[in-house]
């Protein structure tokens, strides 16, 4: 019964449903023909074409800068938020902070994007900063929602961590800050790397929020792809998408492995 035909078929159907579009995209990225839907033989021509496309290379560079910067800042902020939420017991506004730290996870991107845009515009009018919209505003916007993801990952790791490790370090003469850097940070480091990779991926993927808060000259890769596709799908977009899928897959798998590896060393 358990070894019947139903389970294998269900698994195959599930995987086909999830990955058929991606596989067809990857396959057609190696298509010789200019027509996206007609197979014209194997070739890496569109990858070469991609490397000569200044617009796409420029956008990719912007995306990487944004992803790197926002993942790094988000990891720092998210870790601090998680530390406060797990280690400082009950304090005034704890519930509010918990809710607010995770709200960006479920907030529709359109609303996040729109509200950030309004904030940036009014800040520019009253404070004079940020001057116009561009790289900086995209980084800030991505940091806000990426920090929420990092906070969730770091929080679960901090909760699993044996708090007597920190107490033992206190007991042996280390002050609270020292304990954080000597003990807490190294112990939760794998989770933080995982959080950083996830934040990096999320930032790289984002189209909606970036569209709201970017300005002239600061188009991220997803924005460029989206505008190209509206004029018709060209094979070089397939090649680009294949590369992005590769990067995302590698970081997500690495993040997963790092999160899962956590308890092993504590024994």
């Amino acid at each position: 019964m358990a070894r019947g035909w139903f389970l294998p078929v269900a698994v195959v159907l599930g995987f086909v449903f999830l990955y058929a579009p991606i596989i067809s995209l990857v396959v057609f990225s190696f298509n010789e023909s200019r027509l996206v839907t007609v197979w014209g033989g194997f070739s890496t021509r569109w990858y070469g074409e991609l490397l000569r496309d200044r617009q796409i290379l420029g956008a990719a560079w912007i995306s990487l800068q944004v992803a790197f910067a926002s993942a790094t800042v988000a990891t720092a902020i998210g870790t601090l938020a998680a530390f406060v939420l797990t280690r400082f017991g009950g304090f005034r506004g704890r519930l509010l902070l918990t809710g607010m730290a995770t709200a960006p996870l479920v907030m529709p991107e359109v609303i996040t994007g729109l509200s950030l845009l309004l904030l940036f515009v009014s800040m520019e009018l009253t404070l004079g900063w940020p001057a116009g919209r561009g790289l900086t505003t995209i980084i800030i916007a991505h940091t806000t929602f990426c920090a929420a993801f990092v906070a969730v990952i770091a929080q679960s790791r901090l909760r699993d961590m044996d708090e007597s490790l920190e107490e033992a370090a206190r007991d042996l003469g280390a002050g609270p800050v020292r304990v954080f850097f000597d003990i807490t940070l190294p112990v939760i480091a794998p989770a933080l790397v995982a959080g950083w990779l996830l934040a990096f991926t999320l930032s790289l993927d984002d189209l909606v929020i970036a569209s709201f808060v970017s300005g002239p000259g600061a188009s991220t890769l997803p924005m460029v792809i989206f505008s190209k596709v509206r004029l018709g799908v060209s094979p070089d977009v397939n090649a680009l998408a294949t590369i992005i899928i590769g990067i995302v897959a590698v970081s997500v798998v690495t993040a997963g492995v790092l999160i899962r590896r956590r308890a092993k060393r504590e024994g």
Binding site: D162, E167, R170, L172, G173, A174, G175, V187, R265, G267
Partner: protein, 381 residues
């Protein structure tokens, strides 16, 4: 409480708690800890002396660990004062206290080697690396771990980890070492060996130990004195022998070892013997005890090993009851019996098996149980 103290082999000068002039090293005064509406520790007063190995003994949730954590500085008392070596600890954070703690989970830093774990305390103190590692090597020799210095904690066995934790907590030569269930995670055989190892280390370093444990055998073996705790209060403080032989309450008598308890009242106090009357044992004679009045309600406590079983009726007129053996548990060095008395009450008796070719008492045998007047402990609460 100390009327039987004179026959103890330990010299009086090593038992400062008998000397009313002695200055306590640790003074716990009226300590109370509440978590919300729950009182974990309730108005505890306790003096502990230099060089003692004091055991806080109690079931889970009795407040013993909370008391230990207040000594270490991880919890602040709601009320009361803790003095260590005359110094009030109220405003002193854990990293500035002259105490170190060995945690139940050992709390070894997973990302550091054995050597680095042990050196951590010295390096935080500002010792040079050379001096610190020289001391570490010495300490690892003391706990017999010198060959494992470069290992990480997850590469060690439970017993080895326990010794790393001990070495790490001793490296700063604290005035007071707090140990939270130090042997709890070890298996039985290793635990027994380690008990004596702990005593050896404690005596060779002269550090005062406070050990929290739920294991009465451990407390009896290790302790100079035991504090029996229940529901946040200390029920009795005394040397192991005192706790066992002279429990001050039914709770302590029942908690330490096993005991048969019978309700009764005082009938008459003659100068040499006291007569008690109980429903289940009939008349009982015992050694006189001050502070009891005629007709006062009391409980008779009889340890199972102080009762003798025999097939023929002993000569004595009192302190004898008859019954039938209901169950026998043969343990090798001794046997546990359950004897149903004629009144219906079942009592526990243990007899050591000293002779190899004895004709053993068996199931359903009619039997006499007897005890000497000195075996009876009279309890009033």
């Amino acid at each position: 409480m100390t009327q039987h103290g004179s026959n103890q082999p330990i010299a009086a000068e090593t038992r400062p708690w008998l000397d009313p002039e002695a200055q306590p090293f640790i003074s716990i005064r009226g300590i109370t800890k509440r978590f919300g509406t729950f009182t974990a520790v309730n108005n505890i007063n306790l003096d502990i002396f230099r060089g003692e190995l004091f055991c806080l003994l109690g079931g889970s949730g009795c407040g013993k660990s909370t008391l230990l954590r207040m000594l270490a500085g991880f919890e602040a008392p709601t009320e009361g004062q803790i003095l260590i070596d005359g110094q009030d600890m109220a405003k002193v954070p854990p990293d500035k206290r002259p105490t170190n703690m060995m945690f139940q989970s050992y709390a070894l830093f997973p990302h550091m080697t054995v050597e680095k774990n042990v050196a951590y305390g010295l390096l935080r103190e500002g010792k040079s690396k050379r001096e610190a590692y020289a001391r570490v090597a010495e300490m690892l020799r003391l706990v017999k771990l010198e060959t494992l210095a470069k290992r990480k904690p997850h590469q060690l066995s439970g017993g080895q980890r326990q010794r790393v934790a001990l070495a790490r907590s001793l490296i700063k030569q604290p005035k007071l070492l707090l140990l939270d269930e130090p042997l709890g995670a070890l298996d039985k055989k290793l635990r027994e060996e380690t008990q004596f190892e702990l005593i050896r280390i404690q005596e060779s370093l002269g550090v005062t130990f406070i050990v929290v444990t739920h294991d009465q055998d451990e407390a009896m073996t290790l302790a100079t004195r035991i504090g029996v705790m229940n529901e946040g209060e200390i029920r009795q403080v005394g040397e192991p022998r005192e706790i066992y032989e002279e429990p001050n309450s039914k709770f302590v008598a029942d908690f330490i070892g096993s005991v048969n308890l019978f309700e009764g009242r005082v009938e008459a106090a003659a100068p040499d013997l006291m007569r008690l009357q109980t429903d289940e044992l009939g008349p009982v004679v015992t050694l006189p005890r001050s502070g009891l009045s005629r007709n006062q309600r009391i409980w008779v406590a009889l340890r199972p090993e102080r009762i003798t079983l025999s097939r023929v009726r002993p000569d004595a007129a009192t302190n004898v009851v008859s019954g039938v053996v209901q169950e026998v548990g043969y343990m090798g060095h001794m046997s546990n019996f359950r004897v149903r008395l004629d009144g219906g009450r079942v009592i526990r008796v243990t007899q050591s098996n000293r002779l190899r070719d004895e004709d053993p008492i068996s199931w359903d045998e009619p039997i006499f149980a007897s005890w000497s007047p000195a075996a009876v402990r009279v309890l009033t609460e």
